[in-house]
């Protein structure tokens, strides 16, 4: 099979033109476009395989830059969308919760009892030490007991006040 180089010389396919040593010609490329593409694909695949780390680094860097730019340009939009989504779904979630509370008063009562019990159990010496800003080792058992009773009654008063207001 023969081809024509850029200068118009005739040469064999796959070899350089013996006259002008041109590698290829537009006419030859047009006639053998599939072959050119295949060669390009093979070359690109080989180059990618040899330069994988470089490609990954380049892609990651480019993606990070693009993402930062996009975020900067769309920050208000993102925030607005998130706020709207939260507002829309908050109403829906509150609706579901209110319906569940209305439908299952026993479960609500039990849940409240358990959470109250858990809160009281959570009054550990270390928790009290954090409140009074003293080392745990410095607290006397009497102080821990008295502070625990005090916290329990404060919580009970708070709950009672909430019940009165709601």
């Amino acid at each position: 099979m023969e081809r024509v180089c850029k200068q118009g010389h005739t040469a064999e396919v796959g070899k350089k033109c013996p006259t002008c040593h041109a590698a290829s010609s537009a006419a030859w490329r047009a006639r053998n476009i599939e072959r050119v593409r295949e060669n390009t694909r093979k070359y690109a695949a080989k180059w990618r395989a040899n330069n994988l780390e470089h490609i990954r680094g380049y892609d990651a860097e480019r993606r990070a830059k693009w993402r930062a730019k996009w975020r900067a340009n769309n920050l208000e939009h993102v925030r607005g969308y998130a706020a709207k989504w939260r507002a829309d779904n908050l109403e829906r979630a509150r609706g579901y919760a209110a319906k569940w509370r209305a439908d299952s008063p026993d479960a609500v009562r039990e849940s409240t009892r358990r959470s109250s019990a858990k809160k009281v159990e959570g009054i550990t010496p270390s928790y009290i030490a954090g409140i009074v800003k003293l080392p745990v080792a410095a607290l006397t058992p009497g102080m821990v007991e008295a502070k625990r009773a005090h916290l329990k009654i404060k919580r009970l008063i708070k709950e009672a006040k909430n019940e009165v207001t709601t």
């Binding site: 030490a129 009074v132 800003k133 003293l134 080392p135 080792a137 410095a138 607290l139 006397t140 009497g142 102080m143 007991e145 008295a146 502070k147 009773a149 005090h150 329990k152 009654i153 404060k154 009970l156 008063i157 009672a160 006040k161 009165v164």
Partner: protein, 73 residues
């Protein structure tokens, strides 16, 4: 003068009374505030003792770094 044990007992009685509704919330709140003042006084006594015995430990509990000692060259 009430001891910590007395305060704890009073708080427990008040808790039971409030749970059953025998005491008004406002009264209970005021009593709890008074008990809190007693406890604060006890807390200060403890803090004083800890500070005198071990200042580094006291400052650690206050979330404050201990002061660095100045060394003379």
């Amino acid at each position: 003068m009430k001891s910590l044990h007395d305060i704890k007992q009073d708080m427990s009685d008040l808790y039971n009374a409030l749970s059953t509704g025998a005491v008004d919330i406002k009264v209970a709140g005021e009593l709890a505030n008074i008990a809190g003042k007693f406890l604060k006084a006890e807390q200060l006594e403890l803090a004083k003792a800890v500070f005198i015995n071990d200042p580094v430990m006291y400052l650690a509990a206050q979330d404050q770094p201990p002061a660095l000692e100045h060394k003379e060259n």
